[in-house]
């Protein structure tokens, strides 16, 4: 513990330095007409983006909230949701060269499909119900970062509002409004390892209050040759995988604002070559191995005033998730002449609706009550052998339907204390019922200091794959599988030391019971998802942020955490004990150039097999510039010092190598109206 605390020294040095800097800087309001009409006239007010009109926002949630703004995305060069999230205090990323995974509070077990998060786009839940994944965080997340106005992240339980999966964190991606990005925008991006991407977007005013944003992008990433030491044997080309890391696909997004209607359409598809599959009898370096997936939705949301009785919001949506893969397996020993071509297919379609009524309560606060229901038309999983002979291995369809009722109430206890209570009841035809309470106590000690204590009891239903999939070889179904439950406690304090310097401390403990994990059945010795473990994750997070004179900004954070299996008292795989991040940005040349750098240090982690991987230190640089009107150029270097490191993964191998140093260049043109 002592050694870990010693790693906090950079923050200890930084804090007083920044505080001293802040005291010396000029306060522009000093000596000015306070509280006067003239002050109102002179005050520079922040531009309010129409994205604030999106009906769901987490910013006012009684929890520890981090917001990544469009400006952060631009300045630090976040090109995927995964990159943006990995910059956040206590978050870390893992990549198995097919999907990107995000861990928080030390929990990101290899083989898990990001099931303990909730990811939303403008409040639309992105969880599909085959694997309970969230669309993941790389290019398979079908929204381009250029369209993001902000990313809101709340830590801890949000099941009391959003139901299943909102256990460790809830991430709401708020898109830019059609009126906030006027005109045409075209960008082109190229990067190391053959990455190429183009994006086109346009916003048009259609008249009568209708504003439309349309965006489409296409990408084609060549990938790189990957060395897999475990396969460094002659039949497997000495462990080298050539031309089997590519990725192609498209993203499209449309948003129509028309009066009180907000209509969103999101269509995307991606194909990824898979260098290493989960099953160890997959043909190595097989050019045909790939996955293709996509998640589409259309949502119409409406908000209406009902006079003194408050606001009524309702939305209707239709979602469609598709997954296909193809893998070749050895029939017999590796290298034998017989290969079986297998294809998998998953289809999930559902439609739903949500009604929320926000009404004033005793003139002091709002109470929110709502109901949500959705109906799956298909939850289909198929697996079949195509050659040498065609036969079905798995074929089942288990559509579910769900209903939820929820309420959230804010109680003001005097001027400083506020209590938030939330309760949600979920009923699922396939997975049973769950009651999720949440209680938050907020103490506003002064305008610059606030403390929050939050308790929640979130849950995660098993996915259809975990409960029903059975090929009797790689996995066997478990009809008795039930939801994971957790008790989460968080205590946080936020203090503004000065107008430019803010500090946050967050202490938490999550206890998860009935963690769903793979185990072998006693009778058949075949893997099966079971409610196995009880785990406890505890930790402390510190963060300081400073916005200094001249636009120089600094953000440093440290997260110390420990996750243990309460039955074995052992740690979990892929659970770093410490995560340290520091980023700084500086505008130059009259705001026409912005230089930034980010440093991260993730402490050692162990793999599923118990192998310890060394700590990882990475540094990125990003330079953004606007050389001429309408054009902007961004140049970035990732893994600047070309560190060689691997991530723990749940595949046929225990670890897989990550990208070395890479460089990217992005050029964006916006028409005159948009600049």
């Amino acid at each position: 513990m002592r050694s870990r605390l010693a790693l906090l020294w950079p923050l200890g040095v930084l804090l007083p330095l920044v505080a001293a800097y802040g005291q010396d800087s000029l306060d522009p309001a000093a000596g000015k007409a306070n509280g006067s009409a003239e002050q109102a006239l002179l005050e520079e007010l922040p531009v309010v983006q129409a994205a604030a009109l999106h009906q769901q926002t987490l910013q006012e949630a009684p929890a520890n909230v981090t917001v990544i703004t469009a400006s952060d995305i631009r300045k630090y060069g976040y090109r995927t949701l995964g990159e943006a999230l990995a910059s956040v205090r206590g978050f870390y990323g893992t990549y198995d060269r097919t999907y990107h995974y995000i861990g928080v509070s030390g929990i990101s077990t290899p083989g898990d499909f990001n099931t303990r998060f909730l990811v939303m786009i403008n409040g639309h839940n992105m969880t599909e119900h085959v694997y309970d994944s969230n669309g993941f965080f790389g290019q398979d997340f079908g929204l381009d970062m250029d369209l993001v106005e902000r990313i809101e992240i709340i830590r801890g339980s949000a099941s009391a509002l959003y139901g299943s999966n909102a256990m460790l964190a809830t991430i709401n991606v708020v898109t830019r409004s059609p009126v906030d990005v006027p005109g045409i925008r075209v960008s082109s991006e190229t990067a190391s390892f053959g990455e190429r991407k183009v994006l086109f977007s346009d916003s048009v005013y259609l008249g009568r209050g209708a504003n439309l944003l349309l965006s489409a992008s296409g990408f084609d990433n060549g990938g790189q040759t990957i060395y897999v030491p475990a396969f460094d044997i002659p039949p497997a080309q000495n462990g080298l995988i050539h031309d089997q890391d590519g990725e192609q696909g498209y993203h499209t997004f449309a948003n129509l604002l028309w009066g009180n209607w907000n209509i969103t359409a999101y269509f995307n598809s991606r194909r990824k070559d898979v260098p290493v599959n989960a099953a160890d009898d997959t043909v190595f370096n097989d050019r045909g191995s790939h996955v293709r997936d996509g998640h589409n939705f259309v949502e119409a949301a409406h908000s209406s005033d009902i006079g003194a009785r408050g606001t009524l919001r309702y939305r209707f949506y239709y979602d469609d998730y598709r997954y296909d893969d193809r893998f070749d397996y050895w029939l017999g020993a590796a290298g034998s002449q017989y290969i079986q071509d297998e294809r998998s297919l998953s289809r999930n379609e559902w439609a739903g609706s949500e009604v929320t009524w926000t009404t004033p309560f005793l003139k002091r606060a709002d109470v929110v009550v709502g109901a949500e229901g959705d109906w799956e038309f298909r939850n289909l999983q198929q697996e079949q052998a195509v050659s040498p002979s065609r036969y079905s291995i798995v074929n089942f369809n288990v559509p579910d339907h769900r209903l939820a009722l929820f309420s959230q109430q804010q109680w003001k206890l005097g001027t400083r204390w506020t209590v938030y209570t939330g309760l949600r009841f979920d009923a699922s035809h396939n997975y049973g019922k769950a009651l999720s309470p949440r209680l938050a106590l907020v103490y506003q000690r002064s305008p610059s200091t606030v403390y929050k204590l939050v308790y929640g009891r979130p849950f995660r239903n098993p996915s259809a794959f975990e409960k029903y999939f059975s090929d009797n070889q790689t996995l066997v179904a478990n009809p008795a599988l039930h939801a994971e439950r957790a008790n989460t406690f968080e205590l946080s304090g936020e203090h503004k030391f000065s107008p430019i310097l803010t500090g946050i401390v967050n202490v938490y403990q999550y206890r998860i019971q009935g963690l769903i994990d793979l185990n072998e059945t006693a009778e058949q010795q075949v893997p099966q998802y079971q409610n196995l473990d009880r785990i406890r994750s505890s930790g402390v997070e510190l963060e300081i942020s400073a916005k200094l004179h001249g636009g120089f900004e600094l953000l440093g954070s440290a997260a110390l955490q420990r996750v243990v299996d309460l039955d074995t008292n052992l740690g979990l795989a892929n659970s770093p004990r410490g995560l340290y991040k520091l980023r700084a940005g500086l505008p130059l040349v009259h705001q026409r150039l912005f230089a930034s750098s980010a440093i991260s240090y993730d402490s050692a982690v162990s793999t599923d097999a118990g192998v310890k991987l060394p700590p990882v230190f990475l540094q990125d640089f990003t330079l953004g510039m606007r050389p001429v009107s309408g054009f902007s150029v961004q140049l970035g270097v990732r893994n600047t010092w070309n560190r060689s490191y691997s991530d723990p993964v749940g595949l046929a191998v225990d670890t897989i190598i990550q990208d070395g140093r890479s460089i990217y260049l992005k050029v964006t043109w916006r028409d005159h109206a948009a600049t």
Binding site: L42, L45, P46
Partner: protein
């Protein structure tokens, strides 16, 4: 030889104002605290802010005045207060022009023995400004920032001629605006920021526009986002009191032309120096109307820029 300009008078005026603002800002930043122009200064101009409105007013003043000295940003720039003391004691100045209430306070605190012309000042601010301090000096005249509701409505009607129901949110201590022919004014009382959104909600369906009058207690960096979001949700377009408010998300703004206030003040100053006795109180003789096109589009309203009117469009 100057070629005839094809630009509209509005555009020329906007460019002139911008140039004047830019020149003043640059001068404020790069020149020392006291600067003297055109020989012996008979007029001392005092500013207490480098904000754009004050810089525009200073630019307008300097376009007209010949012999003057400027003490800039009296509370912030090093040496500015000492420079002001010296300018007042030298005896050369026959008139001081205070731009903004803080400049008035700076002069009042020094018990200036020369007449003071206050400009870019709200009446209420001067009234609230510790009467004993202010009472001591000789006020030669003033150009107020206050716009009457009828001036605001006139500006509003340049863009939306049919607007005839206007809401106004005032603190309980503020007086009722005078009635106007052909316009229904709905007043809503609001004790403080916590009551701002409920006050706005009561105007739903009652008014075409909500006029926001300058009040830093009700309208500031903290309250502006929820206020603007609520105005969009409730379809209540806001009429802001500054360019910054319009950029932030008010549908349109009506506010004084600050460069013109500078020129107006200069005219009064010349009059004060030429003739003795009497004070002149004036309100802004020219207003600027600004529309925020993206907000109008969100609200389903359209403004057709025909180039004939003095309207600035923010896109």
């Amino acid at each position: 030889m100057q070629l005839p300009s094809s630009e509209s008078p509005r555009l020329q005026r906007v460019r002139m104002t911008r140039r004047a603002s830019l020149a003043s800002l640059l001068a404020t930043v790069f020149l020392p605290a006291v600067r003297t122009f055109a020989g012996t200064a008979r007029i001392t101009i005092v500013t207490a802010s480098a904000g754009a409105p004050h810089a525009s007013a200073l630019g307008g003043l300097q376009q007209v005045l010949s012999a003057h000295s400027v003490v800039s940003d009296v509370f912030a720039l090093p040496g500015a207060e000492a420079a002001l003391d010296q300018a007042l004691k030298s005896g050369a100045s026959q008139l001081a022009i205070a731009i903004g209430i803080d400049a008035v306070r700076a002069l009042a605190a020094r018990k200036a023995q020369i007449p003071v012309l206050a400009t870019m000042v709200f009446r209420a601010d001067l009234k609230d400004s510790a009467a004993p301090d202010i009472a001591g000096f000789q006020l030669a005249g003033s150009v107020w920032l206050d716009l009457s509701l009828s001036q605001i409505v006139a500006g509003l009607r340049v863009v939306f001629p049919a607007a005839n129901r206007v809401g106004v949110i005032l603190r309980p201590t503020q007086a009722n605006p005078p009635g106007m022919a052909g316009v229904t004014v709905h007043r809503v009382d609001c004790a403080g920021p916590a009551d701002l959104l409920p006050a706005l909600r009561t105007l739903r369906g009652q008014v075409d526009f909500v006029a926001c009058l300058p009040d830093s207690v009700l309208y500031n960096k903290t309250t502006v986002e929820p206020l603007i979001v609520a105005s969009l949700e409730h379809r209540l377009p806001l009429v802001g009191y500054s360019a910054s408010f319009v950029k932030a998300g008010a549908a349109l703004g009506v506010y004084p032309d600050f460069g013109e206030i500078g020129r107006q003040t200069a005219d009064i100053a010349e009059h004060c120096l030429a003739a003795s006795g009497g004070t002149r109180d004036e309100t802004p003789r020219r207003t600027v109307v600004t529309v925020n096109e993206r907000v109008l589009h969100l609200l389903g309203r359209e403004y057709r820029d025909n180039g004939q009117t003095d309207v600035v469009v923010i896109r």
